[in-house]
Symmetry: C2
């Protein structure tokens, strides 16, 4: 079989960690006799510099021609003077999500055995571990709802945004959460603010309805404010967290930070045809870019998710994940995951990539 992957490395550490993911994919191709073609395109800040836009038409066209997008990261101080919605993150990510109808965002976060001390949580809480999958609706809600804008003058000038959800939009993301829960600990926690938002009242109604089709999965509802709190006290009691776009933005980042090892977390954004975009959860980390010390694991695991969800290559995906586990359990780690007094044992970005590629 032959496949086409659009590679959008982006800014900051993006190109460095992408190079390691490519190394690993080369080994995967050999072992599983795959033929993957890669086409590279500018995105984010580098695309602003080279083409005047964070998402040039050629990049979008290249993505359309591919089976999936492997995305690095975008943004950095160089483009921070731009208006928020011309910046690389917003200007590349939201149009990509909208254009390809990537309504389903999967953001898993778990405490890796042996890395519990990295968590900002108290040791007795992190000792219990946790493994949470945030299923976030990604193309609706207040991100894309119309009308959005300004009206009026002087002190009366107003800005407005519209949060909007249809039964159809809620149902399709809810089904994904319940299906994911069936392959995990069989619990869905639906996050909303039904005591304030009309959208959340509909959300609850639809989620209750969908739950009837999954009698083996336990459903609970929690308000977003309470969810933010309970994750701090008892993260181990959550399994799948089903969230609207805005609440998922917050919850997925909170659980990522709770692991204390964002450099290990990848995410998938999918549409209903299995086309998807795969990216690390951390940002472009401009402060450490170019030093060869960034952790490539999140980018490598993003490639594994791509193989699994968009190319249906489960064996190849698992092979990558096993190779990563082997590195981590052998204490093969980049510097940010190591105590200051043992930093001399830290592996570089490319050492990590080599180890994982060899372990395939």
């Amino acid at each position: 079989m032959s496949y086409q992957i659009a590679v959008l490395a982006g800014d900051g550490i993006g190109p460095e960690v992408m190079a390691e993911a490519r190394k690993v994919l080369v080994e995967v191709e050999k072992r599983f006799e795959l033929n993957i073609e890669y086409s590279e395109f500018d995105v984010g800040g580098i695309a602003i510099d080279n083409h005047g836009s964070p998402l040039p038409a050629a990049t979008l066209k290249g993505c359309e021609a591919a089976d999936a997008i492997l995305f690095g990261s975008v943004g950095g101080p160089k483009w921070e003077h731009l208006a928020p919605n011309e910046q690389p993150e917003r200007g590349a990510l939201l149009p990509l999500r909208g254009h390809f109808d990537l309504f389903c965002n999967l953001r898993p976060a778990r405490l890796h055995l042996g890395l519990e001390h990295m968590s900002p949580l108290r040791s007795d809480i992190s000792a219990r571990g946790f493994d949470v999958l945030c299923v976030r609706e990604l193309t609706g809600g207040i991100y894309f709802g119309k009308p959005k804008g300004r009206q009026g003058e002087g002190q009366d000038e107003q800005a407005f945004d519209t949060m909007r959800y249809s039964r159809r939009e809620i149902e399709r993301i809810a089904r994904i959460a319940f299906e994911a829960a069936q392959g995990r600990s069989k619990k869905v926690t639906s996050v909303d603010k039904a005591n304030v938002l009309a959208c959340s009242v509909l959300w609850r109604e639809v989620v209750e309805g969908v739950a009837k089709d999954y009698p083996d999965v336990e459903l609970e509802h929690i308000y977003i404010d309470n969810a933010t709190m309970q994750l701090l006290r008892r993260p181990n009691e959550f399994d799948v967290m089903l969230c609207s776009n805005l609440f998922g933005d917050i919850i997925s980042d909170e659980i990522a930070m709770l692991t204390g090892s964002m450099g290990l977390l990848s995410s998938a954004s999918l549409n209903s045809d299995g086309f998807g975009m795969y990216e690390p959860a951390g940002g472009s980390a401009p402060d450490i870019a170019g030093q060869g010390i960034a952790n490539p694991v999140a980018q490598i695991l993003s490639a594994a998710l791509l193989l699994r969800h968009s190319l249906q290559l489960e064996d190849a995906a698992s092979a990558i994940e096993r190779a990563v586990s082997k590195a981590l359990s052998s204490g093969y780690l980049t510097g940010e995951l190591i105590d200051a007094d043992k930093r001399d044992q830290a592996k570089t970005t490319s050492e990590m990539g080599d180890f994982i590629a060899n372990a395939i």
Copy 2:
């Protein structure tokens, strides 16, 4: 001078902790030669039971006649079968805030010396302590924005909410944040989602403008998703957090939980005339109601805030706060703040109240 306080004890532990706040106020009246009159009204679940509404007309009228409202807490399992927006919390709090234009919500949270181990944060993070004031806009944004509702049929049925802010609304809450910062560590962190929301772009613009009038105060902007994360890693670097209604709901609860001692946290909701409503940050805690073990400190500190902000009785307010500090620093604590193996030293609700009243 003579004052009138409307007392709305509500449900769960509300009446128990309110009784202790009243004890303390009696001593304050004596010591400062005040004449405070109290009028009690039903609110929340008990008001649904007695009058068919969580906020009966008589309660609202009683509040109108008072100089300030001392609020307990509302809600409990008995009323959870009701539709979310008929429940005690939503049905009492939002109309009270709207009716009295209580646009300014102050929610302070700090780690008390000696209680750092209560925080769910890792010990090296909590050891650095923190002292954050969340200044939350309380009568605008997506809570009250119109239109809000439903339209369409079948799978196309949609729900919608409107987030809406005017320059005027943003400016008045921003000024309060900057003024508060002047009396604290002189830093305002404005929380928004300006890469997605039109309201947040306006929010930033207005906050930047207001900041010019407070050159001694440092201003930084942070996205809500990043704020949720950074609070976990470095809570000690925040001072005043300025938030819209929805983001303040989330941030104030997160910082409250980060203290690990919600039973010590009070909040104030004010309008521009100094009229206000004062309440503990924790809920009605139905699981421990009626056992005499609830912590009355948050309710007692709410009374202190009332004296300060609505009655301009700074001395009396400080006297209460000093008495509370004395109790806490003497290790005079209710059970939830004590390690399991020392629970026999726990004080009851009324012992706490007595100690603090005597210390006035």
